[in-house]
């Protein structure tokens, strides 16, 4: 865990999230998987539990790829850290889209980058699967946890439910069972 006496430097936060912003093709969970690899695994900046709490909040509050970056940055260095992580993460995409927009509106042509995505998409799926397996090993304990994970997976894949509703449902269930355990055991 990061030690509060050795504060992570703001430049380190900035550069790390710029790197994530440059690499994370595929968006959404690809970013989450990258932040998990780099900030949880590699640098030990934030614990796996705290990171997943941040992801839960981030999914309820809109664009979760940006939200997990803000959350992790805030965890390290407060408001300034959060803003710097968010800016660092968005900067490469902003520059890339500005450049592509300029090309598009000047030459009326869409740059043909889709071919590259045909290579990155499968690899990103591989990354997300690896992260899901590692997270699952650590966070899913016992039958009730397994059941909840499978239920959330099915609700998203087969019933196309919004992630925010799934998480609010899981939170309600989890709150009730925590309350029940406290009250009756």
């Amino acid at each position: 865990m990061h030690n509060s006496t050795h504060k992570v430097r703001l430049t380190d936060i900035f550069l790390t999230f710029v790197k994530i912003g440059v690499t994370g093709f595929g968006g959404g969970m690809a970013i989450v998987a990258l932040v998990e690899r780099i900030c949880v695994r590699e640098k030990n900046w934030i614990s796996s539990e705290e990171f997943l709490h941040g992801l839960a909040f981030g999914q309820i509050l809109g664009p979760f790829s940006l939200n997990v970056c803000t959350f992790t940055g805030h965890h390290l260095r407060g408001i300034r850290g959060g803003i710097i992580a968010a800016v660092g993460f968005m900067l490469p995409s902003f520059l890339l889209v500005t450049l592509l927009s300029w090309i598009y509106f000047t030459y009326d042509k869409l740059p043909q980058l889709q071919a590259a995505l045909k290579g990155t998409n499968p690899v990103v799926i591989g990354l997300i699967i690896v992260v899901a397996i590692d997270m699952g090993r650590k966070q899913i304990k016992g039958w009730s946890g397994m059941l909840m994970a499978v239920a959330a997976f099915c609700a998203s894949v087969f019933f196309k439910l919004n992630a925010a509703w799934i998480l609010l449902g899981a939170a309600l269930w989890s709150l009730c069972s925590a309350y029940y355990r406290r009250r009756f055991t």
Binding site: T23, F25, A56, Y104, G126, I140, N162, A163
Partner: protein, 173 residues
């Protein structure tokens, strides 16, 4: 060209609604940009969406594209800052209170209790992305190679992803 103030206000408002959930974003953006302000034609809007999906940022980065059309580089900048401002502010507020609230026993155990659902959603994202983009043996082979590299080696994800992009360019051009 639209005034920067109008761009700022428009995208800030979109950002506020966006906080409620990203799914309403596309029809809403279409309504505001194509029908209301006529910053984009429908074809440009669709091309802009495709272009936004090329980048690592969230889909809402289409704000950059529209802002560029409506007000050049300053427009792109203002639109991007304003659409993401509400969610960044909200996330900072969440982060600030999170450390405190987590210490309350009931809230802490509720948060821990819902973690399996988060993991389930991460796995679901892999599934959904797979259904959309795995179309042949070639893709499955790249997927298997990626999985093996991430699982059993310590190669930086950046190299693997860029390498895969290169492979994609070579195989599909």
């Amino acid at each position: 060209m639209a005034s920067l103030l109008l761009i700022a206000w428009t995208f800030f408002r979109i950002g506020l609604i966006f906080v409620g959930g990203g799914y309403v974003l596309i029809p809403l953006l279409n309504h505001i940009m194509v029908e209301q302000y006529r910053w984009l034609t429908l074809r440009q809007f669709l091309d802009g969406l495709a272009l936004s999906q090329l980048t690592p940022g969230p889909l809402a980065i289409i704000a950059t594209f529209t802002g560029f059309r409506a007000g050049g580089f300053p427009g792109a900048f203002v639109a991007t800052v304003c659409i993401f401002l509400p969610c960044v502010m909200l996330m900072l507020i969440v982060g600030r209170n999170y450390e405190r609230l987590k210490k309350i026993d009931l809230i802490g155990s509720t948060l821990d209790g819902l973690l399996p659902a988060v993991v389930g959603l991460v796995a679901a994202a892999a599934w959904n992305l797979g259904v959309a983009s795995l179309s042949g043996l070639k893709e499955f082979l790249i997927l298997a190679a990626g999985f093996a590299l991430f699982k059993w080696t310590k190669i930086a994800p950046m190299f693997v992803i860029f390498g895969a992009g290169l492979v994609g360019l070579l195989l599909n051009n």
